[in-house]
Every structure is written in C-alpha cells, then in structure tokens.
C-alpha cells in the first residue's frame, strides 16, 4: 500500500472483522463506515453531533461517528447496527422489540437508537420510563413521537437475556 503524504493508514476491527484502509484524515468515521466499508446502516442526520443518527459503539461505548475521524479508529473495535445481532440474518432482541412495539416508522433514526439502547440496557435492568427517556434524550426521531420507542426499550429490557 503506497501512503500519500495526505493519507493515514487505519487498521480497525468493525463488527469482528479487521480491515486496513488508507484515509484522508478529514474523513469522518461515519463516512468511512458508509463509503469505505459500505456499511450504510449507520445514518447521518445533522453531521455535527446533535441528532444521534450516526451512533456506533467504539470499544464498547456509544459515540457519535460524525464527529469522530477515521484515523482515530486505528487500533479500535467498532460495532455498527450491522453487527448488533450475534446471529447473522437474525434480529437482536432490541431490534425485535422495536419491530413489535412500533419503535420505528421510516427507520432513519433507528440504528442510532438501537446502539444507544444497547449500551443503556447492557448496564441497567428494570429502568422506569423517566430513566429510559433520559437515556434516549440524545437521539432525535421525527416520526414516532417516542412512545413506541420507550415501549420497545421496556420490552427489550424484559426479553433480552443478558
């Protein structure tokens, strides 16, 4: 691989698979995932940290991938919505719950919600509605009015064996 002076090498493990890429440093992690790795499940809304659509897990923690840059991923592990379910082709219990409880309409915001909720439920059991609303307060949805999403989080809290 020939590295141009304005490029940086990134070695990153995404959904369990390690890849090596040359990137322009100003490439956002979101664009790298979408355009470089063709993982278009990560969505971009505001592109400046406000809406939560681009949320992914970086070394197990939720982060905004639109205000993170591709070189910063070097040596890290990333989980996107494509890697959420442990069984390829099946839905994760959180995804099942969103489907059952009308936690989505157009689905644009959903990948960001799923990863945010994944982190929240990994750490919490039996949260009440206020705690759930606080946990998802950094993610915006223009369709559902949030009731379905809150119900989905409550359902996943019960169904997800963890």
């Amino acid at each position: 691989m020939t590295v141009q002076p304005d490029e940086v090498v990134v070695t990153v493990t995404v959904n369990g698979e390690t890849v090596r890429h040359l990137v322009d440093p100003r490439t956002t992690a979101a664009d790298f995932l979408r355009d470089g790795l063709e993982l278009t499940g990560t969505h971009l809304g505001c592109e400046h940290g406000v809406c939560g659509a681009c949320t992914v897990l970086l070394d197990g923690r939720s982060v905004r991938s639109c205000i993170l840059y591709a070189p910063q991923l070097d040596g890290c592990e990333v989980t996107t919505v494509e890697g959420l379910s442990p069984v390829p082709g099946e839905l994760h219990p959180i995804q099942e719950a969103f489907r059952e409880c009308h936690g989505l309409q157009c689905g644009f915001c959903t990948p960001g919600f799923l990863l945010t909720v994944h982190e929240f439920l990994s750490e919490t059991k039996g949260a009440d509605e206020d705690e759930i609303r606080e946990a998802i307060s950094g993610n915006l949805c223009r369709c559902t009015g949030y009731q379905g999403i809150v119900a989905a989080v409550q359902r996943a809290d019960e169904t997800w064996q963890r």
């Binding site: 100003r26 939560g52 949320t55 905004r64 070189p71 609303r133 307060s137 950094g138």
Partner: protein, 295 residues
C-alpha cells in the same frame, strides 16, 4: 458535510505533544473528545492545517485522590468516567452532581474534562463548577509548567488563558473544607441541551452555623463564569435561612445577554430562582453533617 483538509498527528506522550504544538503553533488544534471541535471542523468554523490528537496519550487520563487533600483530574479523563468515579463523588460532589447535565451520555463517553474547560464556553457547566470549588488549572508547554486559579483561566467567550503552545494537562480540585456543602441547579429547554442559566453554590459554615464562605457562580449570564459577589458577601456572617438567602440574591445585580433562548430579564429571573434553590439545597445538605466534609 466535510471539514477543510487537515493533517493528522497522534502523539503518545505529553512531551511529544508539546514539541508538536510548539512547532505548529497557531496552525494546529489539539483534539480531545472532539465533541465541540468536531462540529466546528465539520461546519468549517475551525480550519486548522493540523489536528493533534490527544486520545493516545494515556498519561493525560485518570483521576488521582490525594488522601483527603483533594483530587487531580487528568485533562483527557472522559466526562462519563468522572461522573461515575467514587473519588469524584467523595472529593468533589459538586462536579459529580453537575456532570450528568453536560450533554448526553454518548457525548460524555467521548467528551473530556480538559476539553470542556479549554473550550471555555460560558454556557457550559464545568467552568462554573471549577470556579466555585476554587480549582487550579495545570498548564504545560515546552518551557515548563504553570498553575493558575480557575478564576483567572476563563478570559471570555471561547477564550481560555492558554497560549497556542500550551496544553491543559490537569485540573486540581482542593479538599472540601469541613462543614462545606454544595449544589448545582440549571434550567435547560430540553434534557442535554446547554442550560440557559446554571448556578453552582458552595456554602461553608462555622461552628455556630454562620456562613463563613459562599461561592455562587453562574453559567450563561456573561462571557465567563460569573460570580455573584454581592450575594456572596451578603451571606457571609449570616445564618443561611431562606429569607437571608432571598435577600442576598435580591441584592445581586446581573446584566445577562439576550439570545434566541432567553431574554436578558428572563435570564435575570432564572438567576434569582436557581441561586435560591441551589443555596437552599446546599444548606439542607449541612444538616446531620456537622463536622463531616461532605461537600
């Protein structure tokens, strides 16, 4: 949306970073959590030629407690890690109380203590908190280290007392004196938004239950964290009853700026309400605490 092109360097040590900062000067920006700089880069409001990433410098992250003598918090300590740290809860409860109001969990996973302070946004929680607890900023450049009180660190809107070659390496929080308690109050239109006004209150009582120290510091009403010095002086020497607090707060003149989320008079109203609540909450925490420094 794409930032303007920039070069990228990821030093592993503070010394290496200071060399890079000295050689790139004004052309470079350090990136900590990127939760404020990232939006500025994406919107091309910041167009540095070089971005120096602090995220690989392990020595900059972490919290050390000094055996009843306060805390040192490394600049790259993530806001979420400080929020959940038992050492912070014990030695700087005001910081622990205010941190959950900083943005959202996902932002705090990445955002750092040092980044929020260096960014010097007068609407932010942490600058008001470190001013109220009289913390010190530890600053390094190639030519050495200096320490300045928080009060002198915030110079104006988005302007901290940092030269282009200087790195904020840590914030030092003094031990909470005996019979000293604190509280944070803020009002924001939505959870996680910047507050329209926030108030940090610290109250110290002497053995007779009379105020011997009061710090009241507001976010959102000036270009820097603003101390309510008239109200502070009015409280000292008094028993902090609700009426005394109300009189002290009423004596304070403020002249907040207006913007889309709040007029000047609305902000002034919020200062009164929130300062009263914060001071009463801090006073209530004194009860049953007698000599125990619970902060």
């Amino acid at each position: 949306m794409k930032p303007a092109p920039f070069g990228y360097l990821a030093p592993r040590s503070v010394d290496e970073t200071l060399e890079l900062m000295a050689s790139h000067g004004d052309d470079a920006k350090v990136i900590a959590g990127g939760q404020s700089l990232g939006p500025l880069l994406n919107l091309r409001l910041a167009t540095p030629a070089m971005v120096i990433d602090l995220n690989r410098i392990l020595e900059l992250a972490g919290i050390s407690a000094h055996d009843g003598d306060g805390l040192t918090i490394g600049a790259m300590t993530r806001q979420h890690d400080a929020e959940t740290s038992p050492a912070v809860a014990a030695a700087c409860p005001l910081l622990a109380e205010a941190l959950p109001y900083v943005a959202h969990r996902t932002i705090r996973n990445r955002g750092t203590i040092g980044g929020s302070l260096a960014h010097s946004d007068p609407a932010a929680e942490l600058p008001a908190v470190v001013t109220a607890v009289r913390a010190e900023m530890v600053i390094r450049s190639r030519s050495g280290e200096r320490t300045i009180p928080a009060e002198e660190f915030f110079l104006g809107y988005f302007t901290a007392a940092l030269e282009p070659d200087e790195l904020l390496v840590a914030v030092r929080v003094p031990a909470v004196p005996a019979r000293t308690t604190s509280a944070w109050q803020e009002f924001a239109t939505r959870s996680g938004d910047y507050a329209i006004v926030g108030v940090a209150a610290v109250i110290g009582l002497d053995g007779a239950g009379v105020v011997d120290r009061a710090s009241i510091v507001c976010s959102g009403i000036a270009d820097v964290p603003r101390q309510l010095s008239t109200a502070q002086s009015a409280l000292v020497g008094q028993e902090p009853t609700s009426a005394v607090i109300a009189a002290a707060v009423a004596a304070q003149h403020t002249d907040p700026p207006a913007d889309l989320v709040g007029s000047s008079s609305y902000r002034r109203h919020l200062v009164g309400v929130l300062a009263q609540r914060a001071l009463e909450a801090a006073t209530e925490r004194q009860e049953g605490n007698d000599d125990r420094p619970t902060g």
